[in-house]
């Protein structure tokens, strides 16, 4: 589904954030991208979701070479991903409902269907009773769940979450992870970055990064555990 071939990423004026990354993610997999802070986890996720372009190498997503993608096709590619950003990127001048409905507005879904789908997504993450509240009034865990609701409401093929449990208590973190597991079990490809490998009840693939390089023993074929 996603294939990296000798990918390099260098931000202007910085060292290589990613070096010589080759990997493959299959449809329906659960993937953990692990590594210490600054290892390049966020960068890897941004490359997958075409938020950033590689400096070198090729990234193929479902037969499309992302470097060759035209700018005007980019939005339509992005819609296939449900993204949960490290800083949530919630909109604090809208209430919870309005935050979650945004991807549906972008997809031009009619308001009646939208409302139903937003409530289903909020229900899934346990925030249905807070739809009228401003996200700023929510706790960290609730904001994270709201970000998840926004990512799943458009029924993406792939969920990408950047350190979704980063600063959450263990019990909240488990709750969040369970939501992701439930999506993986219905066929969604789930890619999650985190400092340390979480306890997972299901089979997963790990991509461990150190200083921008894959440090699994076999660089080209990440270990399956």
């Amino acid at each position: 589904m996603i294939k990296f071939d000798r990918v390099f990423k260098k931000y202007p004026g910085e060292m290589d954030a990613l070096q010589d990354i080759s990997l493959e993610i299959l449809s329906g997999e659960l993937v953990f991208v692990t590594g210490p802070s600054g290892a390049g986890k966020s960068t890897l996720l941004k490359l997958i979701s075409a938020v950033e372009k590689p400096t070198n190498g090729s990234i193929i997503f479902e037969n499309t070479n992302l470097s060759e993608l035209r700018n005007k096709d980019m939005p339509f590619l992005r819609r296939k991903f449900g993204m949960i950003f490290q800083d949530h990127k919630l909109l604090y001048d809208r209430n919870c409902f309005e935050n979650v409905v945004l991807p549906l507005e972008i997809n031009d879904i009619n308001p009646a269907d939208s409302a139903r789908r937003v409530r289903a997504a909020l229900n899934k993450v346990g925030l249905l009773n807070k739809e009228k509240m401003n996200p700023i009034t929510l706790s960290g865990g609730e904001q994270q769940r709201l970000a998840i609701a926004r990512a799943i409401v458009s029924r993406p093929l792939i969920l990408i979450a950047d350190e979704p449990t980063g600063n959450l208590d263990k019990s909240y973190a488990d709750e969040i992870m369970n939501i992701f597991y439930s999506f993986q079990q219905v066929g969604v490809t789930v890619i999650i970055s985190c400092h340390e490998l979480p306890q997972s009840p299901i089979k997963f693939k790990q991509i461990h990064l150190i200083k921008g390089q894959i440090s699994n023993s076999d660089k080209h074929v990440p270990l399956l555990s």
Partner: protein
């Protein structure tokens, strides 16, 4: 606020246009005719005068013919200047006989052709085309129109700058919304849409204010003119612009709003994305 800025700005040139249109319409109502004076040679015979008279009568461009013998002209002049022949020591009449004709055309080419034909007739000494004041007025109206057009263009540029700036500030207010929408797959047109609507609404509101202001200017002026009719002797009425013109003003305002907001939003959003 924006409505008023646009409304008032567009009012200036369009009120000017309204006044010019009125003057122009009055100028067309007032006799639109050119006059030509044909002065004859001193030693002309009555036969020749009769011949010229019949020649003039046969021309279709000529509406009115007035012959003034040199004697009448001389007497008229003398009485006007309150002089007697003795006072200036001229005993002989220095004036020629003249035909004074009024044309039913204002076309330069026709007048030119006519004068050239007239010059060929023997006995004709000199032809003076009366530089009709109507023509001058028209030239002035034309120049004023050009002036108004330049003023209008300048003000439109000012409006574009003001609207663009407002829209740019709005994109900054919605910076997060724009960036997040882009990240989750919004197309440029989706992101531009609300700003373009805002620009269109600005234009619509401003245009309506312009039209409203113009209409009230006309109304107030006519009311006043009616009140002071006894002083002015006759009433002057200002005629409003046509519905087509009013529609054009509103559409123009909307177009200005549309384009300035579109380009401002596009520009500003590009910049936002780069800085992100």
């Amino acid at each position: 606020m924006m409505f008023i800025i646009i409304g008032i700005t567009l009012c200036l040139p369009s009120a000017g246009y309204l006044i010019v249109e009125n003057v122009r319409q009055i100028s067309t109502k007032i006799q639109h005719e050119a006059e030509i004076s044909i002065f004859l040679k001193k030693d002309i015979s009555q036969d020749q005068i009769d011949f010229i008279d019949s020649a003039l009568r046969s021309s279709s461009e000529i509406k009115k013919i007035h012959f003034e013998p040199k004697l009448t002209a001389w007497e008229k002049l003398q009485s006007k200047l309150k002089l007697s022949t003795l006072d200036i020591g001229i005993s002989e009449n220095p004036l020629p006989d003249g035909f004074f004709i009024t044309l039913n055309t204002l076309s330069n080419t026709k007048i030119k052709k006519l004068t050239e034909d007239l010059k060929l007739i023997s006995g004709v000494d000199n032809i003076v085309v009366d530089g009709s004041w109507i023509k001058k007025l028209r030239a002035i109206i034309y120049m004023v129109k050009i002036g108004l057009f330049s003023l209008g263009t300048l003000l439109v540029i000012v409006l574009i700058v003001i609207i663009s700036n407002t829209i740019r500030l709005q994109t900054l207010t919605y910076q997060n919304e724009i960036l997040v929408s882009k990240l989750i797959g919004a197309t440029n047109s989706f992101i531009h849409r609300p700003f373009i609507y805002t620009g269109l609404i600005y234009g619509l509101g401003g245009g309506i204010i312009t039209v409203g202001t113009l209409k009230s200017i006309v109304f107030t002026f006519n009311n006043m003119a009616e009140k002071y009719e006894y002083i002015l002797g006759n009433s002057i009425t200002l005629v409003g612009l046509s519905a087509v013109n009013y529609t054009i003003i509103v559409l123009l305002a909307m177009t200005i709003g549309l384009f300035s907001s579109f380009f401002a939003a596009r520009q500003s959003i590009k910049k936002l994305e780069k800085s992100y």
